[in-house]
């Protein structure tokens, strides 16, 4: 429903918006900085037990025998579960594509190091961990396959023997006559690129308190859930309980970025609670469990890509081949991440035809999950790398070659080769702005001088799309059948005129409570503090999804304003009756219901609401005595995907243009980022401070991706990065604070013209930093083609360039 939702801020029933569009301090921050938000590990229930999980030490091993008798005998241990219990009482975990699921506890064999094998519930976590040491598991190690190319070969160890192959999906897509484009091209640039596995690392790991109610056969799961309703469906399917008997309560949580996961942990905790006769069981994933066995690893990708172009630098075709290593099973949305690039496959450019050869393969590593950006960040790097290579080969400036290929601002809405439609944009404006901010001409002059001194200085300039407002139809090619992502909100006004808005998600850090409060304060003419946002659990909230896919800011705006419109309609009817006026002439403006031009014919929202709730005798007989309404919003105009995955999927296309300056220490390979400029266009900014936070956080994660973060496995599938001493997150010393500017091209499709920006600079920064590094390396004739560009990798490149130079002498 989008009918009456205001399309611009000026359409709101206020003379001047005081909050929306402004840099409003977040309403969430008080409870966060005072430590009052109830994170799951702070919660305690009566009789609560603590769970701990025994995990496979082998990447691939037959489980011959498990003896839990010694663990069960320990005083204080109340439940012990193994794969046999999972086989008896649960269904395999859901997967995308469907049908590749394993149980939440390994049955018969383990497929990756860290896979849950058994679990214990005891009176303390320490005791539960002591009990794990008393469980005897006899393993028969099997050969592990760790490399994606090896996993494709005939005779490779099979993750699921019954499937006969490790290939989960192999499809070739041709959007237009790609062969002709490459045949007729003046030039083709190609590259093999390796994006290594990395992932989300929220401050808080996943945690849950599961409580089985034996009398009603219901389950309540409190936890740090990103998407409670979606999780409830999965839990219902795995534990084979009807969905209406599963209540999921999302607690405030310390970030997610897609890494919260929690399906296995929830189901295991629920099994333990059931065995413990319904005592609640808390399980908090510790950081080593998160890094080795959590839901936070993503994008283990081997690319081979080619760009066809004319001699004038115009792009005519893009061909991307992706071998995506999903790890042990496709339970974690790794496949979705391979599908999402379709929403912005050709970036900011008019590339008329495109091809995608996609292979999803299993290996004996942790299953990959979602991560901020959900797939396009590596794809964007591949595309931008090819664009830079083309510019270098043709002798065209990186900014200029992009300008020549940009979708022009008068061509929106614009349908790209892969079927999605971009809503609006002005890519040249963003480029011009960032060129000006960075004093690009001077940067290039300084670079020339540095090169003359033998220094390795590079400038990265990239321009990317952030698809916003995700829709399930974007993932049709990996077997997702849905279209639309409902998000609901219920708005009620009490008899004092204060406003409560009920939503189906909890605090995660993005500031959506503030956005809801801003919208309603302006809509009903109250103060920000007069609006309270209340999280509802999965059974109480209207249909919802929650944060994800750069969607919630826009979706919530739609739901909140839609509900507000419906409340307003009730208030207008009541006020008209009370003012003895025609409902058609009563308007809401600045918190008053009034008849324009009739002095004194006005009531405040609070007065009308109070009458509705306390004086039914004064109301029209057919008016519900309830200043409350619900609206469930989904993006308008979405289309089901065709056989090649073409769909109007993500509703918005935000644009960003980044310029980065780096210097590489020629002796050590260390990279220093010493300049960073961003022009970002996410349409109308509902809260500019929130947007800036999104961009800055994306820069941090992007720098991590480009320079630091990598999950490393040895040849036997043993993880070598199981603590933060080895998995390197960027710290405050590593992250630049960019100079930023806002470009605003409102979306014609969304409430108030906002676009999704929740993934922010994660779409752009990895490519920008890597392109800068390669610009620095270009004179040496070597290129960084693997992430992260660690000092060790860059030193090896520098060494190879030096030895090459020597042998050519």
């Amino acid at each position: 429903m989008t009918g009456g939702i205001p399309k611009t801020i000026a359409d709101l029933p206020t003379s001047k918006a005081r909050y929306i569009g402004e840099r409003v301090p977040r309403v969430e921050d008080q409870m966060l900085v005072s430590g009052r938000a109830e994170f799951i590990d702070n919660a305690t229930l009566p009789g609560m037990l603590h769970g701990a999980i025994l995990r496979s030490p082998f990447a691939h091993a037959r489980i011959v025998r498990i003896d839990t008798s010694r663990a069960r005998a320990l005083p204080g241990v109340f439940a012990v579960v193994t794969g046999e219990d999972a086989r008896a009482t649960t269904a395999p975990l859901g997967t995308i594509p469907d049908g590749w699921g394993v149980h939440c506890l390994a049955v018969d064999k383990a497929r990756f190091v860290g896979e849950p094998v058994a679990a214990v519930a005891a009176t303390s976590r320490a005791l539960a961990e002591d009990a794990l040491e008393q469980i005897d598991v006899e393993y028969e190690p099997l050969p592990a396959v760790v490399d994606a190319f090896e996993a494709l070969k005939p005779g490779a160890p099979l993750l699921l023997e019954e499937k006969g192959s490790n290939v989960v999906l192999h499809k070739q897509f041709r959007w237009g006559d790609v062969d002709a484009a490459f045949r007729d091209a003046d030039r083709v640039v190609r590259e093999k690129l390796r994006w290594n596995r990395l992932g989300a690392n929220p401050m808080e790991t996943f945690g849950v308190i599961a409580q089985w109610d034996p009398s009603e056969a219901t389950l309540t799961c409190r936890g740090s859930y990103q998407t409670q309703g979606y999780m409830a469906l999965g839990i219902s399917a795995v534990l084979q309980i009807p969905a209406h008997k599963v209540r999921v309560i999302s607690h405030p949580h310390g970030g997610s970025f897609g890494g919260k996961g929690g399906m296995r942990g929830t189901c295991i905790a629920a099994m333990l609670s059931r065995q413990a006769d319904g005592r609640p069981v808390k399980w908090i994933e510790d950081r080593m469990e998160y890094l080795v066995g959590g839901a936070g690893q993503a994008w283990d990708r081997h690319y081979e890509a080619a760009l066809a172009l004319r001699s004038d630098g115009r792009f005519t075709g893009l061909h991307v081949t992706l071998l995506d290593d999903l790890g042990g099973t496709p339970e974690g949305a790794g496949a979705i991440s391979a599908a999402k690039p379709l929403a912005s496959f050709t970036g900011c450019y008019t590339i008329p035809v495109a091809a995608y050869d996609l292979t999803l393969v299993l290996t004996n590593k942790l299953p990959t999950g979602p991560y901020r950006g959900m797939g396009p960040p590596p794809h964007n790097w591949v595309l931008e790398h090819l664009v830079d290579t083309a510019a270098r080969e043709l002798g065209i400036d990186p900014g200029e070659i992009r300008r020549r290929n940009f979708i022009a601002k008068d061509r929106f809405p614009y349908e790209i080769a892969t079927g999605n439609e971009y809503d609006s944009g002005d890519y040249e404006a963003a480029l011009d702005r960032v060129l000006e901010m960075s004093d690009y001409r001077r940067l290039r002059e300084e670079q020339a001088q540095a090169r003359a001194e033998g220094r390795l200085v590079g400038i990265g300039l990239v321009s990317t799309i952030e698809p916003g407002v995700f829709d399930w139809n974007a993932y049709a090619i990996v077997g997702v059948p849905m279209t639309g992502v409902p998000e609901g909100a219920t708005v009620s006004i009490d008899l004092f005129g204060k406003i409560v808005v009920k939503v189906g998600f909890s605090l995660e850090g993005q500031g959506q409570y503030t956005v809801a409060a801003q919208l309603l304060a302006d809509y009903f003419g109250v103060e920000l503090g007069d609006v309270r946002v209340v999280a509802q659990d999965s059974l109480s909230a209207p249909p919802h999804f929650g944060p994800g896919g750069s969607r919630l800011g826009v979706a919530l705006t739609g739901a909140v304003l839609g509900a507000a419109e419906r409340v307003k309609a009730k208030l207008v009817r009541a006020a008209a009756h009370l003012l003895q006026a025609d409902p058609g002439v009563v308007v809401l403006r600045d918190g008053r219901l009034e008849v324009p031009g009739v002095p004194g014919a006005e009531m405040t929202v609070a007065q009308v609401a109070a009458v509705m709730l306390t004086r039914s005798d004064l109301l029209p007989p057919d008016l519900e005595p309830s200043p409350e309404a619900t609206c469930v919003w989904t993006a308008p105009g979405r289309t089901p995907a065709d056989a090649d995955g073409r769909a109007k999927s993500y509703l918005t296309a935000a644009n960003a243009c980044h310029i980065v300056r780096v210097e590489i220490d020629a002796e050590t390979g260390q990279v220093t980022i010493d300049g960073y400029w961003i022009a970002d266009d996410c349409g109308v900014r509902l809260n500019p401070a929130n947007v800036e936070g999104m961009i800055q956080g994306g820069v941090a994660q992007g720098v991590g991706a480009a320079l630091l973060e990598e999950y490393v496995y040895d040849a036997d599938g043993q993880p070598l990065t199981s603590t933060f001493a080895d998995y390197l997150l960027p710290t405050i010393s590593d992250v630049p604070i960019p100079e930023t500017a806002a470009i605003v091209t409102p979306s014609p499709f969304t409430p108030l013209g906002a676009k999704g920006v929740g993934e922010g600079a994660m779409h752009t920064t990895p490519a920008a930093v890597l392109c800068a590094i390669n610009d620095a390396l270009a004179p040496l004739g070597v290129q960084a083609t693997e992430t992260p560009a660690s000092p060790h990798r860059l030193w090896k490149l520098l060494e190879s360039a030096r030895s090459h130079a020597k042998s050519n002498r």
């Binding site: 303390s124 320490a126 080895d726």
Partner: protein
């Protein structure tokens, strides 16, 4: 990530602590700042039956001038070292090295004695101790003894401490007039353990190198003294040719280089050479500036 069960004792004197160590028959661990031990306990990689907390023992926390040396109590935190005016003015190498250790939160808890006794190959303090010719004072049941730093770190995570001995004090000489110093390291991020590090000290008299000390850390199981490079520098005039030769000696000095996902053995040795070259230049500039 919860430790297995252990007993806990917080003795009030060194004598009580050594008695506890002796009674535990080698199955006790000493707790100083806990920056290495507590994670090892939580990961159940360390499983002592008894944890002897040194935090309640009076008078292991001091920095003072003693008999022409700087004496540092083993339980002195790195933050206290960092803030000590005595150390900053009289042995600035130790001050500079301290600032490379972890982050302020770690330096607030971590102790000098803890770092020495942990003997992590990537840690700064053991290499600094070797470079400075520090003396470590150990207390045991049979009384006290002193060990030169050069003999204190026989192998990684192992020291010359007997099972029932406790490190009580580190004694460091003061910087000689006319000498320069440098401590440099390459880490993936600020505060990380070094992939390679170099401690350099140079004495310059009448325009010639009169003394040289080069010690590497992070590259090998124990601190590595680059004796060949030191010898080659003596009598040379400070400058690029001499420094480059010493750097080459550093690259060759490591017989068992470490290797891990962040840095191969070859890269570590290369970095050692780079750091020694840069460190010598910095130390020479400081020596010339001070004389």
């Amino acid at each position: 990530m919860k430790p297995p069960p252990f007993a806990y004792a917080a003795p009030r004197s060194v004598a009580d602590a050594t008695a506890l160590l002796r009674a535990s028959d080698g199955d006790a661990k000493l707790l100083a700042g806990g920056q290495s031990l507590l994670p090892l306990l939580a990961m159940r990689l360390a499983r002592p039956s008894l944890l002897v907390d040194l935090g309640r023992i009076a008078d292991l926390d001091y920095v003072r001038e003693d008999d022409g040396m700087i004496a540092i109590g083993a339980m002195t935190t790195k933050t206290a070292v960092e803030r000590s005016a005595l150390i900053r003015t009289r042995q600035p190498l130790l001050h500079d090295a301290t600032r490379l250790i972890g982050h302020p939160q770690i330096r607030n808890r971590g102790t000098v004695g803890g770092s020495m006794a942990q003997a992590d190959p990537a840690a700064e303090y053991p290499a600094v101790a070797v470079a400075l010719g520090a003396t470590l004072r150990l207390a045991g049941e049979r009384g006290e003894r002193s060990v030169d730093a050069a003999a204190f770190f026989p192998s990684p995570f192992t020291t010359a401490l007997e099972p029932s001995e406790i490190l009580t004090e580190i004694r460091v000489p003061m910087r000689a007039a006319g000498s320069g110093w440098s401590v440099l390291e390459i880490a993936r991020r600020h505060g990380d353990f070094a992939l390679a590090g170099a401690v350099v000290m140079l004495g310059i008299e009448s325009g010639r190198i009169a003394s040289a000390r080069i010690v590497l850390f992070g590259v090998a199981p124990v601190p590595v003294r680059v004796s060949a490079g030191e010898a080659a520098l003596l009598g040379e005039s400070p400058g690029r040719p001499a420094f480059e030769h010493a750097a080459a000696c550093a690259r060759d000095a490591v017989s068992e280089p470490l290797s891990d996902p962040h840095a191969s053995a070859a890269y570590r040795c290369h970095l050692a050479g780079v750091l020694v070259g840069r460190g010598l230049a910095e130390a020479a500039a400081r020596a010339e500036g001070s004389s």
